[in-house]
Amino acid sequence: MTFRQFAFNNVLRNKRLYIAYFLSSMFTVMVFFTFAIFAFHPAFSGGSINENALFGMAVAGGIIYVFSFFFVLYSMSSFLQSRKKEFGLLMIQGASSGQIRLMVFLENILIGFVATVGGILAGLVFAKAILLIAENVLIINESLNFYFPTLAIVVTFISFIILFFFISVFVSFILRTKKLIDLIKGDKKSKGEPKASVILAVLAALLLIAGYGTALYVKGVQVVFALIPVIVVVTLGTYLLFTQLSVYIIRRLKNNKPIFWRKTNMLLFSDLSFRMKDNARTFFMVAIISTVAFSAIGTLYGFQSYLTTGVKQVNAYTYTYHPFLGDSEEVISQDIRTINSVLEEENVETKMEMMDLHYFDVMDDDSGILIVKASDYNRFAALIGEKEIQPNKNEVIVVEQSSAILMDGAKASETLIQTPIALENGQKVKPTQVIESEVLTEINGYYIVNDTIYDQLGNPIRSDMSAAWQADNVENDPIIEAGRKIEEQVPHKVFAVDYTIYEINKAYGPILFIGLFIGIVFFVSAGSFLYFRLFTDLDEDKRKFQAIAKIGLTQSELKKVVNRQIALLFLSPIVVALVHGAVALTALSHLFNYDLTMESSLVLGSFAVIQIIYFLIVRYFYVKQLKSAIS
């Protein structure tokens, strides 16, 4: 047995110990590789995707790579921690620290190589699925066919061989051999119960409250200025929450004998307090990483919904036509003929309405205020199924659009409702009520009057016209296609909602996809941090429960203790991250003054569900391991 054989055998015959490290390494390779398959797809090199998106993908690749480095480094160092005794034994046999470093280096090279190859193979299996997802999220005209990703394989292989090489060098360098006696007794020695200072515990609570308070209080543009200070304060608060406040609370609980000495609580709390030192760091990291993932995905998703619903709300009809100011009657009728013929060509069945828009001098300004005849309004309302309005002779109704429009200052309706309309005969009619409707797009709001009153309004200061088509087809594709053609043939005068949304989604798709990808990478790696944390303690737990089982511990009691222990480990950082994420997304919705409740609860909820499923799976295996150790 040469030294090299020894190092390799040590890995190959001890698979259970290395498997977690190996899998997480392989996972990172796989993520990077699937991303590379996507990014290097031949469909993109043709130029169907713009340069910004390609640049975004390169940056995303870089982020994933840098993150992989730290992730693998962390996995490795936490893995080395659990092997102190082994190193101690080797040193007693006369291994120099150089030899131990060499051994760790060889191990890493071996694991890194296999993980790289394995990750690429696993990535190939998932490649088709990833491309299918990408195709649907991205909205690209060409379909993303499966191809043999030679370039992606080469790039991934070289990148990760380099990464593992550097990590091997790095890890064997930081592996300082401490005093031999500490190494040998490493697994027996308790790291001691961490202490909590009351002041810092209170400070943790204060920082979190201050951060949350500010984030929830600020509105509009202030959110941008508050962003950095709030992030700093909340991050610090989170750190202190796990290192101080939680320790403090556990201590208080321990001092409360009726609680602490109640059944299995003693086992749970004593364990918690002793592990808190290790746990605190993991908790902090997991909470922050998950918060980043939640907020990033929530923001991107919320932003997309903000863009598309905004467009939809402002433009209720499938197609809306507004001529330019100087367009003559002929140009207008020519335009409308063109539009109708395109619609016919594409087999889009529509109902169409036209109306002249007259602006009157109500408030003594140049642009005037739009006043609409009730019958005109009702024709348009019928197209999109809005309620008809029948004002009486001496009634004026103020209409404004719903909150979809961003407006600073007073709402349009507030001034309109106070302004009476003067008729030709000198009579004045006062507005009586304000309604919200999407029938006409007029940022400053407008009035609706009875048809008879309308005739007495006199001459308008300017006139305009509008035409609207509402499609009956249920299918989206011809509507979009027609929209594209209409925009080509009658540029800038027609607004085709579905086509615009399609264009927005197309431009936004890559960003959303990349964001999702990175968010998921962060989230999954947070999960494996927790997994590492848990399984470092497995042997100790086995020993502990063996001892307790001898005194007498039923299966259900064992389950209960382990259940709570794992639940606390897995769920508490995620709960913190969810709260962080919820606050962040609320602040975001304040920035845009747009309700994100649906979007954020969808994003946060699905992450919570995933984490709970993950928790259930891990718990099942952990309990199984413990049970087999006891019986």
């Binding site: 055998n9 046999q93 120099s96």
Partner: protein, 254 residues
């Protein structure tokens, strides 16, 4: 060959604890010395200091005129590899390796040739009676076999000093007897100096000299005469003398 001068060990902590006080001890080449004493008397601390696992707070350790605690890291590793052999109560075999691989580990670390390692391992295995289990893994063998594997591992590089910490602690009486006889044989044939910490008077009676320590101080020492039987009796007597104070039993019960 081994000389301890005024070795003291104080464990720092919330309450500083004095584990060893001014130990002077000398072991000649080829001598077999047993260290005995009650639990917590500092036996293992002393062994750890001699084996360079732990460092003394004050005092000198000299092996053949050199102080191993003053060696540089890499020299210390070479020193352990070449001069010392270890036997533990719980064997401390690496469970990832086969019996044979465990035995040759010290030579592997030294970068010896495979053929030479094989030869040495086979020779030792024959003399220790473990040739039949060379390809087994450590969890497939009994405690007595495991300790013999550990002895083989400690002996393969022909160390000058063999250190044993409760080598019979986990073994039944038959296996204990076998292991002790092997150690004596090695001690006599190879002229290897042997230092053993033990609780077991039976095991201690195989040595040339027993040093008793108590509360971190040297208490006394007794030498073996011709008869192992008589030596065993003397050890028992000494232990019972050390075991209690004359006034342990109060004459008046409260």
């Amino acid at each position: 060959m081994l000389k301890l001068t005024k070795v003291s060990k104080i464990y720092e902590g919330k309450v500083a604890y004095r584990a060893l006080t001014d130990i002077n001890l000398e072991i000649d080449k080829g001598e077999f010395v047993a260290i005995m004493g009650p639990s917590g008397s500092g036996k293992t601390t002393l062994l750890n200091i001699i084996s360079t696992i732990d460092a003394p707070t004050t005092g000198e350790v000299e092996m053949e005129g050199k102080n191993p605690h003053k060696l540089k890291k890499n020299d210390l590793a070479k020193f352990r590899r070449n001069e010392l052999g270890f036997i533990f109560q719980d064997f401390n075999l690496l469970h990832t390796l086969t019996v044979e691989e465990n035995i040759v580990l010290p030579l592997t670390l030294d970068g010896a040739r495979v053929k030479e390692m094989k030869e040495k391992a086979n020779k030792l295995a024959n003399s220790l009676g473990i040739s039949g289990i060379m390809n087994k893994r450590t969890y497939e063998i009994s405690g007595g076999q495991a300790q013999r594997v550990a002895i083989a591992r400690a002996m393969i590089h022909e160390p000058k000093l063999l250190l044993a910490d409760e080598p019979t602690g986990n073994l039944d009486s038959k296996a204990s007897k076998d292991v002790m006889e092997m150690l004596v044989t090695i001690n006599q044939q190879e002229k290897t100096s042997l230092l053993m910490v033990t609780h077991d008077p039976q095991a201690a009676s195989y040595s040339d000299r027993v040093v008793f320590i108590r509360d971190g101080k040297l208490h006394s020492e007794i030498h073996r005469g011709d008869s192992r039987q008589a030596f065993f009796q003397k050890i028992i007597d000494m232990l019972s003398l050390m075991g209690g104070d004359g006034n342990d039993f109060s004459s008046i019960r409260v």
